[in-house]
Amino acid sequence: VSTPTDLEGRLRDAADARARAVEPDDEGGALRSIEATIASRRRRMKVGFLSAAAAALVVAVVAGLAVARVSDSATVTVAPTTDPATTLPPTTAPPTTVGTTTTPPTTSPPVAPLTTAIFPFGAGGTRYDTPELAAKAFAVTMLGNPDAVARPSTATADTDVRAVRIDPLGAGYGQMTVEVTHAPAGDWVVTGSQSDDIDVNTVDRASDGSITVTGMSVAFEASFRIEVRDLATGAVVSESHVMGGSTDKQPFTATLAAPTGTGPYALVALVPDMSGRAITTSATVSFLAA
């Protein structure tokens, strides 16, 4: 078999060979699995909608009862009968005030947090109601860019995931895209970011826990830093200085010592800011399991 000599031909040849080598395992089973997953998620969506509707109904009924009782207290009297001898004295209901009528506390079922969230750190932290707020807080708090400007979010193929472009210094350079996901609890959390200047292509963990990262990068004097941060605390638990390209993207390989935290972690590849206005200009950040 002859091998094509031109690059496009080689690419077609390699892709065709790979495609020929791959056969899906059980297509019928795959279709049944897809159908079952869709049905299951639809049920969950319906349960969520019905729970919200039921909660709204309970609140409405309780509020209605409270209003009715207040109204009764102001108007309940017995009309005089035609026989003056048997006229009853006016009666009044015990006074009721709106202030003492409270809605019984309702409890929502606990919602599992998104397990691959990178920001905000830890449980019970700040909630962000929009993708832009979450992305900006990520840039300011996690990456140290006090002047970060978040552009309006854009859709992705997954409707629960939005992409937010961040101009870290508000200066139009060193930009990155932050991936923000709609969490089950209804807020927005950051699940990754992609610097325009650093592509992380592979992350390999050795048996001793050390981490090897490869990719392509461009940075001032070719130098940038990769950190592993413990997501429970945000603390840096391993780091390495790395050299890539200085004028255009060049390959890099970095090896980091085994992280000392408990995990899970974030792998943070940071482009340092040389203007002194911030700690970094942008970062490629991804989730790293414990």
């Binding site: 091998t3 000599t5 690059l7 496009e8 080689r10 690419l11 077609r12 040849d13 390699a14 892709a15 065709d16 060979a17 790979r18 495609a19 020929r20 080598a21 791959v22 899906p24 395992d25 297509e27 795959a30 279709l31 699995s33 897809i34 159908e35 997953t37 869709i38 049905a39 998620r41 639809r42 969506m45 691959t116 859709a155 992705t156 193929a157 997954d158 409707t159 629960d160 709609h182 990754g192 592509d199 992380v200 292509n201 592979t202 992350v203 390999d204 963990r205 490869t214 392509m216 993207k249 390959p251 792998l267 991804s286 989730f287 790293l288 399991a289």
Partner: protein, 179 residues
């Protein structure tokens, strides 16, 4: 607040079966260009079908269905490479480690199907920035037009041309010493 619009189940069911027949195999093969683990590729494609068919507005225009599915698969592959491979030996490294042919370190056994040049080309393709990698995969395996690639990647057709040109240039450099 996000508004979720569901498709009637019977409509979804027939459309899903048809789309599965038309696209499932080719999408698994597309994902397999980027990821070595075929089982993971199948997971990604199944999740792509789920995400597309849960939202009825994506079914309003059947001509866009293939683009939505391709887009979901490419995004799923990218996310998997970034998030899930950290717990395993990365696909690209597996490919390197099996230069001598299929062996016990190659769980998918694909190396037996590829010669050294094909493996080098795939390895170099996977190392490209994701937009270039995705554009080249759609162009040279899927044989999609620039307009179709633009729809799948959600970018302008002119940008597709740029990604393909830059991707080919980077591949040429990466493969310079290989022939």
């Amino acid at each position: 607040m996000m508004v979720v619009v569901e498709a009637p189940e019977e409509v979804t069911g027939s459309a899903l079966a048809q789309a599965h027949r038309d696209h499932y195999r080719s999408l698994v093969k597309l994902a397999a260009l980027l990821i070595d683990d075929v089982a993971l590729c199948e997971e990604i494609v199944q999740e792509a079908f789920v995400s597309v068919f849960l939202r009825s507005r994506r079914l309003d225009d059947p001509s866009k269905l293939a683009a939505y599915l391709r887009s979901a698969v490419l995004n799923g592959a990218r996310s998997s490479l970034r998030r899930r491979m950290v717990r395993e030996r990365p696909a690209t490294l597996r490919l390197v480690s099996t230069d001598e042919g299929a062996g016990p370190t190659d769980p998918t056994g694909t190396s037996a199907e590829l010669d050294a040049d094909q493996r080098a080309v795939l390895l170099a393709l996977r190392a490209l920035p994701h937009r270039q990698r995705d554009a080249l995969a759609l162009r040279f395996w899927g044989e999609l037009s620039e307009r179709e690639i633009a729809e799948a990647l959600g970018i302008a057709a002119g940008t597709v041309k740029t990604h393909i040109a830059r991707g080919l240039a980077a591949l040429a450099i990466a493969l310079e010493d290989h022939r």
